[in-house]
């Protein structure tokens, strides 16, 4: 009897282990696959698209928001009279009848007839009661101020998978913050396909994008856009650009360029028009660079404002070249203040020689010349400084008056703001705060990068620049009653190894009020034809904007 008992026991033990192994196989090895199979029988997976975050100016106005539009689709199998339906849809969709007819003739259950149509068009099509035609909701980017600050904002296009993606400017730089997170939910159906519970699995719930609150002041931006556009047209320039910054915090209050593009119809413009030239394009800054070199020499104690130039009585020969002044007028024994007032190139050569190559390069690096400023916009370029061993005496001489050295406008604006901010250099920033979907606001604090010159040097340089405005070649355009510190610039453009005498980059850089600066501004016109001089093109525009800004900020005259 014992052997029968043992065989039976053995049989049951084997059976038990077989069942255990099978259960392990189903519940562990094929668990995910079977769960998905089961889920497919009672529900379906739906994608929950998050809303892209808004971009708001400092007054809380959304300059980039979302709008509801509709995709028109059709089920060709339900369309009875293809030609008639195509002819009816053609004028409403503004699409060729043959194209629609071809789409409706396809052997498919779903074809897209038109993406992103507005509410009016949808209503028109709905009223036609066309069989087989339907609509799908779509959320698209909406820019209420059209092309205002377009190069600063960038635009939203599609990535390789057809998903929304920000390109250029803020849309590109902050894309991950703005886009949010796509969620996946399972919708459970009954036997008839009716949803029983709306959502079951919300472990991967969608998270809406974060909003950006900018330092940009919408009124100032609008004003600057208009002035630059008018300036380009008035002076027959190829293009124009400008930016306004708070020197104390590095907050960008406005950034503009013309010609620009409309982010709502970005496809209609060339790719080059998407670039924000204020941060991507390099140029030789010319005389607007002189205050930086002069500040360095003053800070080192090598010169004083009343130090006399000993080489300014005529053209200065250096390494086989001759350095001339812009108008071939020379001022023997001119002071350093007058070197800036008269924008005297020979005087700046004197300053450059006093400073020497090593100290000049050291200060240029402290001013951030050649480096990225760290502005929070996509596409910033840094031209870099030439290596130390590739500098010759002529390079030191020309760099001292802003030729033979490349900068981006944002680099120059940031470096110049050092003088307006007691010698401290701030990181330029466009975004003031990030707002999470649950209403939390994360502030981005101002960031001090360096202190290239002392507060005393900055004060002395400010006074020299006030004199430059009051007595310099742009004094006719200055604002009476206010102390404004500034400098004109007329930079030659290097073409095929030499400078083109007929084409220039005209600019003006300055800040106001000089005693307690509220803003620092750089205005640039590329190849103006009405006049090649910065004093006659960029300076009037600078003072026009400055006047309106001082009124806008309610700053009274001090004289």
């Amino acid at each position: 009897m014992t052997w029968r008992y043992r065989v039976t026991l053995f049989f049951f033990v084997i059976l038990f282990f077989l069942i255990l192994a099978r259960l392990f196989y189903w519940q562990t090895v094929r668990a995910q696959e079977l769960a998905a199979l089961g889920q497919a029988q009672y529900g379906s997976e739906i994608t929950l698209n998050p809303q892209r975050g808004q971009i708001m100016t400092s007054d809380g106005f959304a300059v980039a928001a979302n709008k509801l539009s509709y995709r028109v689709f059709a089920n060709p199998k339900e369309v009875k009279d293809v030609q008639n339906e195509a002819n009816t849809l053609s004028p409403v969709l503004k699409e060729d009848s043959a194209t629609i007819s071809a789409l409706l003739s396809l052997n498919k259950y779903w074809v897209s007839l038109a993406p992103s149509v507005d509410q009016n068009t949808k209503n028109k099509i709905s009223s036609l009661h066309l069989p087989g035609v339907g609509f799908e909701d779509e959320y698209n980017r909406f820019y209420p101020e059209a092309s205002m600050a377009a190069n600063l904002l960038g635009f939203v296009g599609k990535d390789e998978n057809g998903n929304d993606k920000g390109y250029f400017g803020l849309e590109g730089y902050y894309d991950r913050q703005l886009r949010g997170k796509t969620g996946i939910a399972v919708e459970i159906h009954d036997a008839l396909g009716q949803p029983i519970l709306a959502k079951m699995n919300d472990t991967t719930q969608e998270v809406d994008g974060r909003n950006l609150i900018l330092h940009i002041d919408r009124t100032v931006q609008y004003l600057l856009d208009e002035e630059i556009k008018n300036g380009v047209q008035k002076y027959g320039a190829k293009s124009g650009e400008a930016a306004i910054m708070d020197p104390k915090t590095g907050a960008i209050l406005a950034m503009s360029q013309y010609p620009s593009f409309d982010p709502r119809d970005y496809q209609k413009y060339s790719e080059s028009s998407y670039l924000n030239t204020f941060i991507t394009d390099t140029y030789e800054p010319g005389s607007t660079f002189k205050p930086l070199i002069m500040s360095a020499a003053l800070n080192e104690g090598l010169l004083q404002p009343d130090t006399k130039c000993t080489i300014c009585s005529g053209p200065v020969p250096i390494g086989g070249y001759e350095i001339h002044t812009w108008n071939d007028q020379y001022f023997p024994n001119t002071t350093m203040t007058d070197v800036i007032v008269h924008s005297d190139n020979t005087g700046m050569v004197f300053v450059g020689q006093k400073l020497g190559q090593d100290r000049m390069m050291d200060y240029l690096q402290k001013f951030g010349i050649g480096d990225l400023t760290g502005i929070d916009l996509q596409g910033e370029e840094a031209p870099g400084l030439r290596p130390k061993d590739q500098w010759y005496p002529i390079d030191v001489a020309t760099a001292s008056f802003g030729q033979g050295i490349d900068v981006t406008p944002i680099e120059l604006l940031d470096a110049f703001s050092v003088i307006a901010n007691g010698g401290k250099r701030m990181e330029p920033h466009v975004v003031a705060a990030v707002q999470t979907p649950d209403g939390q606001t994360i502030q981005i604090p101002p960031k001090e990068i360096d202190q290239p010159v002392s507060a005393t040097t900055a004060q002395v340089m400010t006074q020299i620049l006030v004199d430059a405005v009051n007595k310099g070649e742009a004094s006719f355009a200055r604002l009476k009653g206010y102390d404004i510190a500034g400098k004109t610039g007329t930079a030659s453009i290097p073409i095929a190894g030499h400078y083109d005498p007929t084409q220039t980059i005209a600019s003006f850089i300055g800040f106001a009020p000089a005693e307690d600066p509220k803003f620092v501004m750089l205005v640039i016109f590329n190849r103006p034809t009405a006049s090649i001089w910065g004093a006659e093109t960029a300076a009037p525009v600078f003072f026009d904007v400055a006047k309106k800004l001082l009124m806008y900020y309610g700053i009274p005259p001090n004289q």
């Binding site: 928001a65 209420p144 205002m148 009716q194 949803p195 029983i196 709306a198 009274p556």
Partner: protein, 94 residues
């Protein structure tokens, strides 16, 4: 042996009560999905309405639109500036 009539009645009532509760709950759950879908549709409608209204509001209050309308109505830029100078200190009136 005496039948436990009280116990049987008690059990019967419990079964009946539980059955009724189940019918009631099933009935409620069966319609909850529909109600939830209706609520979700309503939320979607309000969200869409909000988006459309926000879009209209932004379009109407954009500076580009306001400037264009102002120009059409004949408004011009006001560039006049009036400075009210501070009175001179009394000590200077000698």
């Amino acid at each position: 042996m005496k039948k436990p009539i009280v116990l049987l009645i008690f059990l019967f009532l419990i079964i009946l009560g539980l059955a009724l509760v189940q019918i009631g709950l099933s009935n409620k759950i069966a319609t909850t999905g529909e109600q939830l879908t209706a609520l979700q549709n309503e939320i979607d409608v309000y969200k869409k309405e909000n988006t459309i209204l926000n879009q209209k509001l932004l379009s109407a209050s954009s500076l580009t639109t306001i400037a264009a309308k102002a120009k059409k109505l004949g408004f011009v830029d006001d560039n006049t500036q009036i400075d009210l100078s501070a009175p001179l200190p009394l000590a200077l009136r000698q």
